[in-house]
Symmetry: C2
């Protein structure tokens, strides 16, 4: 059975993949916006994990939809949730099982129970959140057993999550001031740099 | 790292154990009330799974607390949640990691977010719900790949979950009428009868 995991190159989606690996053929997938090659961090992390990886470029209108949500809300939540849902929908087109690295304490991005039911029914897909029943402390303990990872500020683009591409698009069109207004300062991301056990 | 899994002998707690097995030393634990040897189904299922198992007998007052809740509410929810929380507290006394087989769609028994935080902080324990991010359809697909199980009516005591002991105590003290008033009729339980892959 194959599962496609929405993968940023960070600790959480990497651990989700490791937890699925004994039971599924795991494939990693990272989303990017057309103009930006934000998938490099995830590509590198996938190599480190020794798992197959592909990059999927969102349709152009998806970036416009998400930017519209960011600008009208003034905060990133709705836009990030929108991208997460769209990404899972795209993955569901050619997979029986899709997964992500969202965990027990996560608030954004997060599928609602209704959203999950809708995705699974419309797309005939099984959606799995391997970390949904794990707290942050447990995840840190497990992740440290299986990987080395570094924690870096969003501004140096350490990971390939949706935030990186949204920040680049906002900066290009509206300047650094718009980025600073919408995204929190000093937001940290993790990046996997070594797998400790196979 | 050792994890103790709250185990009924049914499909869900068995699959939770199988999902943890590549990453932890898994030990299964089943709770019983003093007067009733309701742990036989779980013992047999643990043998089938080839995982170490122990039975823990609740302190006498725990049965009284749960029966009180059942009788005053007229439905089993509060009593089942109480037993679930007490069982996890007992397991947490001598384990760093504790787990159960509760899944995405489950409503009872279920720890609240506040209850989870309280358990983890007071007992210095990591509480894991391996199936929290899996829907019923996904669980059935995975469980069928790894186990044969049968589905039987509660009345024939197929599993070792809390309901079986509560039904026995209610019947002994208040008659079958009390059982029928509080518990739903035709409630089905699963029991693992064979492990398909190691």
């Amino acid at each position: 059975m194959k599962v496609v995991v929405l993968f940023s190159g960070g600790k959480d989606s990497a651990l989700a993949s490791i937890l699925l690996e004994p039971f599924f053929d795991v494939e990693l997938a990272t989303f990017a916006f057309g103009p930006y090659d934000t998938d490099n961090a995830a590509k590198g992390a996938a190599e480190v994990l020794n798992l197959p990886h592909r990059t999927i470029v969102f349709d152009d209108e998806v970036l416009e939809e998400a930017l519209g949500m960011l600008l009208s809300a003034g905060y990133p939540r709705d836009g990030l949730n929108h991208l997460h849902r769209r990404a899972l929908e795209v993955l569901s087109q050619d997979a029986e099982f899709v997964a992500d690295g969202t965990k027990r304490e996560d608030r954004v991005p997060m599928m609602t129970p209704d959203g999950i039911r809708s995705l699974e029914d419309r797309k005939k897909v099984h959606y799995i959140r391997p970390l949904a029943g794990y707290g942050s402390k447990t995840i840190n303990a497990l992740a440290s057993s299986y990987m080395d990872f570094e924690t870096l500020n969003s501004e140096v683009r350490p990971a390939s999550d949706f935030e990186v591409g949204l920040r680049m698009a906002l900066e290009e069109r509206y300047g650094q001031e718009a980025v600073a207004r919408i995204f929190p300062a000093h937001h940290m991301h993790t990046r996997v740099i070594r797998r400790k056990r196979i």
